[in-house]
């Protein structure tokens, strides 16, 4: 009777049995007789066949003859004598004949080949989760191999290098690499189909030349004969002897033999930062029962991990400070069910690890830590390791490399050609790579801030975090700056130069002040010392206060986040332009490039100060510039500049002449003094006609002066004139800052809305802002106004004769007027709130140019 026939009958009986058992009443047919077709036992089959003498010897020597002859339902993966002969020719144990096998080795070979249930090969991929049967979903099954079958005694340099092992180095210890079950890993066609594994996937995983459909492999060992039916189980014949692989951690540690260029010792040592010996009472007791002469203690090596391993230190009380995603030495690794999946790790070779620290983006880290991975603190190493550890092999096979993201949702840029070696361990796949995959913290513009010793103030601001709904901490600016699809220029005033920040709210009060931010290492917080400031002499005086402590964190955060926004440009600041707009809508001026770069904010230009670049870091998503001074944004509002510049006086008179009764005002009391009422958080240009131009326009009747308007007796006519004047004035305010010295040829929106359907020069439709045409040729700006179609539009040009162009203003909005707060020294408004509660809300920036003509549009 052939195998299939046996099987069919067995299944028939099984079906009958199920039916009968289901009723729980009828007597079982085979209670008193054995079916004659069921064949021999596993043992009888193997021993009578003659091709499995080595395997049978293992059974005999280990006293499993009775088990495989009589009881139980087992599945065994056996190798023929010829396979054993090949094994004796070459194996990692150096064994050349059966006689040389130790008892431990025999146990390894035999117990790992046996599963404690009967599986035909096509059912091997089925598993029962406890609540449901999953067909075709399994890739692992636990074998009979026991952890305590072999326990090495280790000491000295054989032990990991961290403080938890120090006390054991001299006296040594019996150490289990792991004390959990050893599963086999296998790949059936049903499983491969279910998860869309490609042939290439399997070939790469197992190191095969190719994979033929329906071939089944136990690790990389092909099943050459399947489903030999015995009355107590099934036999599957493998192409070679099944030697238990190690787990991933062990492999990474051991992988330094055959090809030193593929050694992974550095990564293994980093993993060892996160492990410790734990006393294993269970294994000690079990081993002692088997070996009464053994009186020592058995320890097990656990990695500190969220899944598997230990979340506690060896005292079993203290929480481990840094947890890996999972314990890479955990044989029985599981995410949900052991059978369903296993882990994977991308492990860079030593060469790749060294190269990373010596060149490119990793050099920041290398320089800081003397090019020695082992010197890098655990807190920094942890995200590196986590990024290389994958919880699911199913999601990490080569055909899915392009879809892999890490636990922070960043792509993991593994390419197939990075894989130089693979190893299928009992708990996961190790991909040895010629690349490292640094976490985003290592490669983004944030990286130099995170890893430098003199950027702690800005790092503190960037790292301020909140707790999200799922309990994860998220730091707004860190995540923002870690966005790899963006390109940033991040400017960081280093700690030693953080001593003279002119606070805009204090600047607007009677007691102006500068703030010196400093990092309190003992409490890991940033404080601010307040110094008096003389606006006239621009001299910093004595210390007059301190803002510190957790209750003031919101103040420091508010100011540093404002500062941070003023120091971030989305885009490149070395593209050749002179002016750039920051995230805070500030206008900054750039001169030079790289470490020769000089950066000025609006106030720097006014005071002729410069933030020089001390260091440049070219990162994955932009450049980080360390500065010798914070960039000081303008402290002058548009109102301030217009009101204090004599050459702007006529225009300012018109702007400030809008009757109080009018809803449409130009200025609103806000910020340091006044702000342009219709500005949003954006950047603008203000064109200021010369006093002569204003006078000429009045003389020519293009506009009326306010006095003439005020004197109009006809209410309707006066209202119309007021409205016309306001529209005229607002037409000189333009969206988008444009600068003398840069090139433009575009139309921009003014702040005056077109209110009729007439055709215009720039084709502006009703209810849209009238436009201004701007042509910048590098030396001046020429403006062409909107106007009735068919007539010559008004035009103007920047008047550079007085040097009144590219003047930078900033209109702040504070949560309250500065007078609503007490002064920095506690003086001032008696009913005001403390200065430390003051908040900068938002701001707009403007560049002001004097022009030689008024801009009219009708």
């Amino acid at each position: 009777m052939n195998v299939q026939c046996h099987l069919a009958k067995l299944l028939t009986v099984f079906a009958i049995a199920v039916a009968l058992l289901s009723s729980c009443k009828d007597e079982y047919l085979y209670d008193s007789q054995e079916p004659d077709w069921l064949g021999s036992s596993i043992y009888d089959y193997l021993s009578s066949n003659g091709n499995y003498t080595n395997y049978v010897k293992l059974v005999d020597d280990l006293n499993y003859k009775e088990i495989l002859s009589l009881t139980g339902s087992k599945t065994v993966f056996v190798a023929s004598d010829s396979a054993f002969n090949e094994f004796y020719k070459s194996n990692s144990w150096g064994v050349t004949s059966y006689d040389q096998l130790t008892v431990s080795q025999k146990k390894y070979l035999f117990k790992f080949s046996m599963i404690n249930n009967a599986y035909i090969l096509s059912r091997l991929a089925n598993y029962y989760s406890g609540t449901a049967l999953y067909e075709g979903f399994a890739m692992r099954q636990v074998t009979e191999l026991n952890a305590i079958d072999s326990i090495p005694f280790l000491q000295g340099d054989d032990l990991p290098q961290n403080s938890y092992w120090d006390s054991r180095k001299s006296k040594g210890l019996y150490l289990l690499r792991d004390n959990t079950d050893f599963p086999i890993a296998f790949f059936t066609q049903a499983f491969l189909d279910k998860y869309s594994f490609t042939d290439e996937d399997l070939s790469m995983l197992l190191g095969l030349e190719s994979h033929v459909k329906n071939d089944v492999y136990i690790f990389n060992n092909k099943v050459i004969q399947k489903d030999i039916v015995c009355k107590n189980g099934y036999i599957h014949v493998l192409s070679s002897v099944l030697v238990p692989p190690t787990n991933m951690a062990q492999y990474v540690e051991d992988n330094n033999g055959s090809d030193p260029s593929l050694s992974t010792k550095i990564f293994a040592k980093l993993l060892d930062h996160f492990c410790a010996p734990f006393y294993d009472a269970g294994s000690t007791s079990n081993y002692n029962q088997l070996h009464p002469e053994f009186t020592d203690s058995i320890f097990v090596k656990h990695y500190f991990a969220s899944n598997g391993g230990s979340t506690l230190l060896p005292d079993n009380k203290t929480s481990a400070p840094n947890l890996l995603v999972f314990d890479p030495g955990w044989n029985s690794y599981k995410s949900t069910n052991l059978e369903a999946d296993m882990a994977a790790m991308f492990v860079p070779t030593d060469d790749a690890m060294k190269n990373f620290l010596h060149s490119g983006i990793g050099a920041v880290l290398g320089e800081k830590f003397n090019y020695d991975w082992d010197s890098i603190p655990d807190k920094i190493i942890l995200p590196f390791l986590k990024r290389h550890m994958r919880t699911s092999l199913i999601e990490s096979v080569p055909s899915k490399f392009t879809k892999m993201v890490d636990d922070e949702n960043y792509a993991l840029p593994v390419e197939k050609n990075h894989i130089v070696k693979t190893y299928t361990g009992v708990n996961g796949e190790v991909y040895v790579t010629n690349e490292v995959y640094p976490p985003v913290d290592y490669i983004s513009v944030y990286s130099p801030v995170l890893y430098s010793d003199n950027s702690k103030i800005m790092n503190w601001a960037i790292d301020i975090s909140e707790t999200s709904v799922d309990g994860t901490e998220f730091a707004f600016y860190r995540l923002y700056l870690n966005s790899l699809v963006s390109n940033y220029s991040l400017m960081i005033p280093t700690d030693e130069y953080f001593d003279s920040y002119l606070d805009p709210i204090a600047y607007a009060q009677n007691v102006p002040a500068v703030l010196k931010f400093w990092y309190d290492k003992s409490k890991s917080v940033v404080n601010a010392t307040i110094y008096s400031y003389d606006k006239t002499t621009r001299a910093t005086g004595d210390s007059i206060g301190l803002i510190s402590g957790s209750s003031y964190k919101s103040f420091i955060k508010n100011r540093l986040w404002q500062l941070l926004d003023s120091h971030i440009v989305v885009g490149d600041i070395e593209s050749g332009n002179e002016y750039y707009i920051t995230k805070a809508n500030d206008i900054i001026k750039i001169e030079g490039s790289g470490t020769n770069m000089k950066i000025q904010g609006g106030q720097d230009i006014a005071e002729n100060t410069v933030a020089a670049v001390s260091k440049v870091f070219r990162q994955e998503n932009g450049n980080t510039y360390f500065l010798k001074k914070p960039i000081q944004p303008s402290l002058r509002s548009v109102y301030k500049i217009l009101s204090e510049t004599p050459e702007f006086s006529k225009f300012f008179e018109l702007l400030s002449g809008v009757p109080d009764t009018c809803v449409s005002q130009i200025f609103a009391q806000q910020g340091i003094d006044y702000r342009i009422k219709f500005f949003n958080a954006y950047q603008y240009t203000v064109y200021v006609p010369t006093n002569d131009a204003i006078n000429a326009a009045i003389t020519a009747g293009k506009i009326k002066d306010w006095q003439t308007i005020y004197n109009m007796t006809n209410e309707a006519a006066r209202s119309t004139a007021i409205n016309k004047m306001i529209r005229f004035l607002k037409y000189h305010f333009q969206d988008n800052a444009v600068f003398v010295g840069q090139t433009y040829n575009a139309e921009y929106q003014s702040a005056t809305i077109k209110n009729d359907n007439s055709d215009t020069y720039w084709g502006t439709a009703k209810n849209k802002y009238l436009k201004i045409g701007v042509v910048g040729d590098g030396s001046t700006l020429k403006l062409t106004a909107d106007g009735p179609s068919g007539s010559t539009p008004a035009s103007a040009e920047v008047d550079k004769s007085n040097g009144l162009y590219n003047i930078i203003a900033k209109d702040y909005i504070f949560a309250k007027l500065p007078t609503a707060y007490k002064n920095v020294d506690g003086t001032g408004n008696v009913s005001g709130t403390a200065f430390s509660s003051s908040t900068i809300t938002t701001s707009a920036s403007a560049v002001i140019h004097q022009i030689n003509n008024v801009l009219t549009f009708d």
Binding site: V13, F14, A17, V18, L21, S22, S23, Y28, Y30, D31, S32, Q33, E34, L70, T71, S73, N117, A118, Y119, R123, N126, Y128, A132, L133, K231, N232, K403, V405, D407, E408, N409, E466, S468, V469, D470, G471, T472, F474, F476, Y477, L479, Y480, S483, S486, V570, K583, F678, N680, A681, D735, Q749, N757, A765, K766, N767, K768, Y769, I813, T841, T842
Partner: protein, 641 residues
Amino acid sequence: MKRILNTILLIGILSGVFVSCDSDDVGGNLYTFTGEMVGQYLQNDTVQFSEFVRLLDTTNVMGLLNSYGSYTCFAPTNDAMHAFYKEKGKNSLSDFSLDSLQVIAYDHIIDGAVVLYSNFIDGRIPEITMSDRNITIHFTDSVTWVNYDEAKGNENAYIINKDVVKHNGVLHVISKVLNPSREGIVEAIAKETDFSIFYQALIETGMADSLLKIEDETYDKTEYAYLITKTLDDGSWYYEDIPDARRYRYTVLMESNETMNANNIYNIEDLKTYAAGIYDEVYPEDANVREITDRHNSLNRFIAYHLIDKQLSKFTFIDAYDTDHMIRTPGRDMYEYVETMCPNTLIEVKKERATGTTNIFNYLPETGDALYLSDTFYDKTTTNGIYHEIDGMLVYSKQVDNMLSSKRLRFDAASFFPELTNNNMRGSRYKQNTTSSLYDTPDLKYQIPRNYIARITSSEQTVVQYLTPYYKYQDYEGDEIFLTASTGKLYDFSIITPPIPAGTYEIRFGYLTNGKRGVAQLYFDNIPCGVPLNLNKSAVDNGWEEPGSDSSDPYGYDNDKYMSNLGYMKAPACFKVIKADWTSGENARYCNAAIRKILGTFTFSEAGHHVFAIKGLSGGEFMFDYMEFVPTSALESEDIY
């Protein structure tokens, strides 16, 4: 012998197939009921329905109508069936092929929805029949017509007896067999002789070729059944479903020859001249493109502007989204913006509260000009689309461009995606329930398979859902796009917006917080929109105060400015939650969970599509209710609605 038993026992345990030994349980799975099924009702009334019953039996549909479910059956009488045989030159049912009988049977049954007479609307019923067709209703004073075709006059089917409510659905008795056209939309338009000029241009421009697709045959619903984790039978406040197909559907708006003639257009050459007069002004750079099959040619643009890749009936242009969430008082007019096949153009559809007028196309406030659907020629249904007569020349003129680029454009998130409309997800509620309020429990959440919606690109671990309007959602038009990821994973997706005219816009994104939202980095056209957004922060955390709570700011306008400075806005006052529970407030402006995030001010130098990308940074949900593009020139005069 015990050994063998043990072996088999073990195999049994491994296989997990052992059934319970408690035989009494078997009876527990059976049920009985006394209500009559739709099928039984038909079987019991042989006088009226014996022929229709034969049809249902022959095609094996009867079993369906005798099973649990929700069905709407339009049942033709025996007279109707016999008249149909005669009309088709047959003597009896047996003279038809089985395939054609199945289609006829399917034409009469809506599976999955109970559509009562009170749910009928004048026009197309949103729910589709088993043959993938829509049934249209036409009310007259005395008769309710079904699939009314003007040419047939009184020979059309009408309702003889309505609302025969049975245990598993409802039955409407009709006077004629429904035999909808099997033509594609182009084929059907070809026969409309009153629209010959339009048709000729449709063909000669080659734009007819854009109206040929019917269904994505590669979409297999069964592959995505695993996405459903909550069924109707679970009795929860919601249940999940997946799209049953991935249909392509079209809408064509056409001018009749008469309308053309009134604009001095008598032939295609006249139409070319007319189109050039309009489009050369809008696209002067293309004025010399003569080849009418070129998408930049003016006639091509003219025709393309009449074509929409969504199936929009008279009801689903805008009325279907005017859910009970919408506040219908004057001033709160509703707008829908529909992308056409003319590149980067929109049609505005307005519903005016003050007059109750709906389907107002491209209303120009300056002139009062607008277009409307014909009173008589609309909802012409074909296999893959629908066509209507429009009562004037529909053009994307300079005036229309100006109108659209100088006002707030608010898009309901679901309006971005034609797939939701074409596959009966957006604008339909009958599937959920048939109570008087269509938005009661249970809500229906569609699990959208990855790549199902062409304009959503999402990572493998992102779960995309469309949540249909529900009475406890404080959502614009009641619905939302909902995104999440399984535990321990993070979502990552991007959405392509409809085309936006050139201009400078403040762009806002409207959402609802609920204590379960996550943190995400938002990008617009690849530019990060500030630091990450914690969607879990309530409106209060972002500066919101309930209007009226501060006597010095009775309407909350000062608070509006304050929030705006922080980068947020209250939600518009044009919608509300129907049933206050999770959130409340007389309208969304008063709701401390509804909020708009200002993404920033962006200048678009030309009209076009944009990409809104979201990268999850923590666990938790993301929801997307609506998006606004507000020209900066419209900010000062913007209302709170």
